[in-house]
Amino acid sequence: MLRVHDRERYRKIAGEAFGLAKGGHLEITLREQSGFLTRFANNEIHQNGFREFLKISLRMIAKGKSARVETTDPSRASLASCVERLKALLQSRRGSDHEPGQAARQPQSEQGAEGASGELGQAARQCRPDQAAEAGWSGGGRPLAHPAPRDRRGGGQDEPALLSKQSYRAVNDFDPKIASGNPDHSARDIAEAVREIKKNGAEASGYDSAVCRHVYIANSNGLEAWHRSSAFRFGLTARKGQGVGYASGFSAFQKEINKQEIFKTALQRAGQAVLPVRVKPGRYTVIFSPRAMAEFTSPLFEDMNARKVADKNSFFWGKKGKRIFSKILTVEDNVYFPGQTGLPFDGVGLPRKKVLLVDKGVVRNFVNDRKAALDFRQAPTGHGAGSLQPSTMPVNLVVRNGEEKWADLLERLDHAIFIPHIWYHQVTNANTLLATGLIKGSALVWRNGAWQGGIQHVRYSQSLVEVLHRIIDVSCDKEMIKDKEHGGSLWPFTVVEGFRIV
């Protein structure tokens, strides 16, 4: 049985932490997960296990500086220790306001002095907890209900103050049936897939997983946000002779995962690729699967971060308002779109907004976190990382679909290569976003209205921007691609001309 705790349990932990912080400006994030993953290879299960954890992340702000401490232990003693660590770290952070090399000098601890030598040996010092208060750490001892009028929520030049209470739109991506998910059902489904695959003279490797998650954020300024979600995933690689077929599926809802359809697709693709076909280096019309396109464009969208653009550290610097992609391409970041999944708030509890990133090929907007929004006087988009994601970036991509099914798009093409999945995709030139990678498994060759066979070890090298400029069509059918803990991409099948195979 898979289950995560309810909000009341998190509230209790948060309340305890706020009490221990004694009026300090504290934010608490709880991430709980309960799930299992079954992996199979060579037609048998080789790895199977539950993964369950609760991670508690505490962030304290004082005088515009912040520090973060994370633990997996929700006990009062652990929370008390975290709060003490935060005070000490903040004190250190204030010390670092001095010019380099003139950091606040404190009494050398016995342990720190032992064995200390040279330049870094001089650094072996420890601060006392009471020094935190001496240095003006937060509003020490003041009750939460009566914050000081100045520095009201700990904010300052470097770190915005804690948010106040916010309201959120709902995202419905929780299936109560997750509770009944168990590895026995998973083994049964895998056994069924393996039986069919063996019958077809093939072998398979893949995974089946079910996970439920609960994220809760609260702060001492009255903000409280929570979201519970479920995720069902199934994917496999089928091998038949020289043919390799890949297919995968994700849904927040059990009934929407059609495992039979997925393994049949993988098997069918392996069968279609059995006959080896040679393709010379050159430019080809290709159809990217939704997965391949989500993987291919991932480094590009990571650059749609307002801070990176302002720092000239993004390809999109100087490109806002310019048409650099195909007119067919319209992309938004929208967690509320039907079929999307994720949190309706960001890492500090700011409500996630829908952001139009690309409109008919024109670069329109970037996402920001709260500090960037304040620094650049922009409307906040609610994409700050906090402890929930590695950095500020679009996390819920929705690409506008076309009107025809991908099978119909294919019928209209004389010659095309289908790309199911890509592998080791890397940007090799940050200035042009030139990227290279390989097609994973077999790419399928379509000619004269039929699949001709498969090609393997296909390497491409092309600018991500050029590829998106060369989109000539997108399908009406879309798939949700979710590889990270939160968020995902909703992509159609995408037809690109002049794709460069090397």
Partner: protein, 483 residues
Amino acid sequence: MSHEKILFVLDLLQFKKVFYGDARFVHIKQRIVSAKNGHPSVLEEKESLGLGVRALKNNGWGFGCTADLSTRGLERAVSRALETASASAKVRVFPTELSHEAPIQTSWKTPVRIDPWQVDPAEQVAYLLECEKRLRSAKGIILTDSRMEFVKKFQIFGSTQGSLIESLKSLAGGGLSCKAINGHELQKRSYPNPSYDYRCGGYEVISDLKLKEESFRIRDEALLLLKSRPCPEGKRDLILRDSILALQIHESLGHAAELDRVYGHEDNFGGRTFLKPAMLDREKIGSRQVTLVANRPEDKSGAGFAAYDDEGVPARETRVVKEGLFTGYLSSRETAARSGLPRASGSMVAEDWSHFPLIRMTNLSLLPGNRPVEAIVSEVREGILLDTESSWSIDEERGDFQIGAEIAWHVKNGKIAGAYKNPLYRGNSTRFWKQCSEVADAANYRITGFPDCGKGGPMQQAFVSHGCSPALFRGVECYASGS
């Protein structure tokens, strides 16, 4: 956490008549300090503790974990492991056997001179700010980044076969980078690596890394790249410095030597391997200069080092390649037994208590040669010397690859004659390693530690390390990104 709790879990597993079971209590402490663009950026401490249980019953593997170390929590973790083992047993083909290991009761820990937790983080921030100040001390540098990180991993491992091993592994690492801009062109230099460099040890590792000392060089090289020509296309002699050779070892031979890839365990994610069992002790995959050793006893400072792995197997010195001949895999007890190998290599590592252990590289090093790097470079008439990885892409069997570096130095008649930007080289693993004509001597030997080797599902990160001296490869296809 007392040993009694581990013994309690092992008793439960034995009571449930498992063929084999093990339990790992893991307590990880981490401190991350970073600065960005001349200001303090991250100041963070993380702590994670819990227990992971593995059970092998009726030929099926299962795993459970918990952060609740009460009797109830431990019982639940065991029951989760048994539940998944029972499910696995329903879809098994091959009988599971484990290679022999004598039970062992011992403890080990990393020698640490300065405990990083006894150092005021203000001093650590100040050190980084000084690095940043140096990086930013020239016009044209627009972005800077610096970081140090410390990890302590305390673990008690116990198995139903009688092993009980207590360990305390300490790691420290750091690095810096800067970006220079001219119009719309951006160039980056990092030191020691873009993902930083980690070693076993305490705060003393940071001074050994010489971040401050290298800041000016990194700054100047980023600016130099803006004025440099793209790396010319063509076959030429290639000298890889240790910083990028470590990546070459990692991607083209390290992952390829993982025995679980032979059995397709990573087929759906990380791929398979070109190193087929039939090649073992028969096929040359490199020149005579190439000898690659896992768990080399001299490399205990490498970030991947652990005296015992996460199934209680000692870090066994394993020759993966001996003078060019493929001679060994990195293995688990299960895959070693299945392949008929007498012993596992001691390569099973889990990211933390909540993950299933997998075959990982730990320490994998290229043995040094006999001559100093200067002597080798002096004999190159026309070549390039590459420093610091920037991109890597390799096929599913770890054969064909393309690797990029941050900077290329033009070597002409044995001397450095200028810099090239955006260099890339490509090749095929066996062909490439056969092109290795010389490895520099032990005086140039350095162990690079990566913190972010990703593998498996759920994706696990591991610290791995590679010792090597710079090496010369003849007639390698080189070009520039975008050419």
